[in-house]
C-alpha cells in the first residue's frame, strides 16, 4: 500500500505545465493588448479633439512670377503615443483642370504631448501667358487635392485624402486697359490710358503699374507708369496719359502692362488696341 503512495509535492505532468505556462503567456499578452487598445483609443480621441490648425496663411507676389502662399499648420499630439512619419502632399489645379502647383511636407514625427509645426510654401504661377494666366485676372475655384499619411501608436497606419474647391480671388479681376483717342498736334501727341480692375485677392495691390503702347509692328510708341495702392476687395478705375512717339500709331497694336511690387515684377495680360 505504501508503494502506491504518490510522492509528496508531486509535480504536474510536463504537458500540463507547458499548457499552463502558455496559458499565462496568453493571458498576459491579452491583458497587455487590451490595455494598449484602450490607451490608443483614448489617445486617438484626444488627438482628434485637438484637430489640425492652420495659421498665418498669406499670399503675396513673389519675384519668380508667382503668387506665394506661405504659412504653416500645426498638429497637436496630446495623446500617449507618437505620430510617426507624418507626410502631406497637396496638388492644386485651376478651374480648367490645369495643374498649377504642389507642395509637400514631412515626413516628420510628433512625439507625445508635443505639437508639430509644418511650414507650407506653395507657388502658383501668374504669368501673363500660358494656361495659368487667368489666376491674375479671373476669379475662380481651384481644385485642391491633398493626401496625408502617418502611423499612430506604432501599429496603426492612417491615410487621409481631401478633395475640395477653394475660391480664388484674382488680384486684377477683370483687368482692362484701353487706349483712348490721340490728341494734340505738331508737338507731343498724347493718349488717355484707362485702367480698370477689382482686387479680389486677400492682399492689396501695392506697387507700380507700368505700361507700354506697342504698335502693330511691335514698335514701342510710348508708355508710362503710376503708383498703385488698391486695397483688397476694392474697385480700381484710373486714367493716365501717355505721350506717343512721333509718327507711331498705336492702332492695331497692343498695350502691355506690368505690375511691380516688393515681391517682384508680374506682367499682366496684354490688351489689344483697336
Amino acid at each position: 500500500m505504501a508503494a502506491l503512495l504518490v510522492p509528496r509535492h508531486r509535480r504536474p505532468p510536463a504537458i500540463y505545465r507547458v499548457a499552463r505556462a502558455l496559458r499565462w503567456v496568453s493571458a498576459i499578452v491579452l491583458i497587455a493588448l487590451v490595455i494598449f487598445a484602450g490607451t490608443v483609443a483614448y489617445s486617438a480621441v484626444e488627438v482628434a479633439r485637438s484637430s489640425v490648425q492652420s495659421r498665418s496663411l498669406s499670399a503675396s507676389f513673389a519675384s519668380n512670377g508667382t503668387v506665394a502662399v506661405a504659412g504653416s499648420f500645426t498638429l497637436s499630439n496630446p495623446g500617449l503615443y507618437p505620430i510617426q512619419g507624418v507626410t502631406l502632399t497637396a496638388r492644386i489645379a485651376n478651374s480648367a483642370g490645369v495643374f498649377l502647383g504642389a507642395f509637400g511636407v514631412g515626413p516628420n514625427d510628433i512625439a507625445p504631448s508635443t505639437t508639430g509645426v509644418f511650414p507650407i510654401a506653395l507657388y502658383l504661377p501668374v504669368s501673363a501667358s500660358g494656361p495659368t494666366k487667368s489666376l491674375l485676372t479671373e476669379d475662380q475655384y481651384l481644385a485642391v487635392n491633398a493626401w496625408g499619411n502617418a502611423t499612430y501608436a506604432y501599429l496603426f497606419p492612417l491615410s487621409v485624402s481631401l478633395s475640395e474647391t477653394r475660391y480664388w480671388g484674382a488680384p486684377f479681376e477683370g483687368f482692362h486697359a484701353s487706349v483712348g483717342t490721340p490728341s494734340g498736334g505738331g508737338g507731343a501727341i498724347t493718349v488717355p490710358i484707362v485702367v480698370t480692375f477689382s482686387d479680389h485677392a486677400s492682399s492689396p495691390d501695392v506697387g507700380t503699374l507700368a505700361f507700354v503702347i506697342e504698335s502693330s509692328n511691335f514698335v514701342d510708341c510710348g508708355g508710362g507708369s503710376f503708383p498703385l495702392d488698391v486695397p483688397a476687395g476694392s474697385l480700381y478705375d484710373h486714367t493716365d496719359t501717355a505721350t506717343l512717339s512721333p509718327g507711331c500709331s498705336p492702332s492695331g497694336g497692343q498695350l502691355l502692362a506690368t505690375y511691380s511690387s516688393a515681391g517682384g515684377t508680374t506682367p499682366l495680360p496684354p490688351e489689344a488696341i483697336p
Binding site: 504518490v6 510522492p7 509528496r8 508531486r10 505532468p13 500540463y16 499548457a19 496559458r23 496603426f156 487621409v160
Partner: protein
C-alpha cells in the same frame, strides 16, 4: 486519504481533487458570462451604435458583431462547464479557433475607410498589425487546447488534481 484508480492519493500531500458539481459549474459559467458579454457584445455594439448614430458607415454590421460574440460566449461557457471532462481540450481548441477566425474576418475589413459626411474627405485607418499581434492569443489557445487534448488522451484525469485541488 482518497483513492483514484489504482493509486492511493493522500489528500494532504497531493491536494487531491474535488470536482465541482455540474450545477455549480453552470452557475459560475453564468456569472462569467456577465463580463464576457460586456466585452464581446455589449461594448462593441454600443460603440458601433454610437458611431452609426453620427452618420458614419460601420466597418462591420452590428448583427455580425452580435453573432460572433454570442458564438464565442456559448463556446466559452461550454468549455468552462466541461473542464473536468475530456471535452475540455477540444472545446478549448474550438473557442480559440473561433476567436482566430473572428480576428481573421476583422483583418479582411482592414483598412477601415471612413468618408467624412459631405464626401470631401476620407480617412483610412489600418489595424492589420494590431490584429496580427492579437492573433497570438488564440493561436496560443489552440496550442494549449491541443496539449490538453493530448494529455487527456494519454492519461485521463491526470490533470484534475491540479485543475480542481481539494
Amino acid at each position: 486519504m482518497s483513492v483514484s484508480g489504482r493509486v492511493v492519493v493522500p489528500a494532504q500531500e497531493t491536494g487531491g481533487y474535488q470536482i465541482p458539481s455540474l450545477g455549480y459549474r453552470i452557475l459560475v459559467a453564468a456569472l462569467r458570462l456577465i463580463p464576457s458579454f460586456f466585452l464581446l457584445v455589449a461594448l462593441p455594439v454600443a460603440a458601433l451604435t454610437f458611431v452609426n448614430s453620427r452618420g458614419i458607415a460601420l466597418p462591420i454590421s452590428i448583427f455580425e458583431v452580435e453573432a460572433w460574440g454570442l458564438v464565442l460566449l456559448a463556446l466559452g461557457t461550454a468549455r468552462y462547464i466541461s473542464k473536468p471532462t475530456r471535452a475540455y481540450g477540444p472545446l478549448s481548441v474550438a473557442v480559440s479557433l473561433m476567436a482566430l477566425l473572428y480576428l481573421l474576418y476583422a483583418l479582411t475589413l482592414s483598412p477601415y475607410r471612413l468618408v467624412i459626411p459631405g464626401g470631401s474627405a476620407s480617412v483610412a485607418a489600418g489595424y492589420s498589425m494590431f490584429l496580427e499581434l492579437a492573433m497570438v492569443v488564440p493561436a496560443i489557445g489552440i496550442v494549449v487546447g491541443l496539449l490538453i487534448t493530448f494529455e487527456d488522451a494519454r492519461s485521463p484525469k491526470e490533470r484534475l488534481p491540479f485543475d480542481f485541488p481539494a
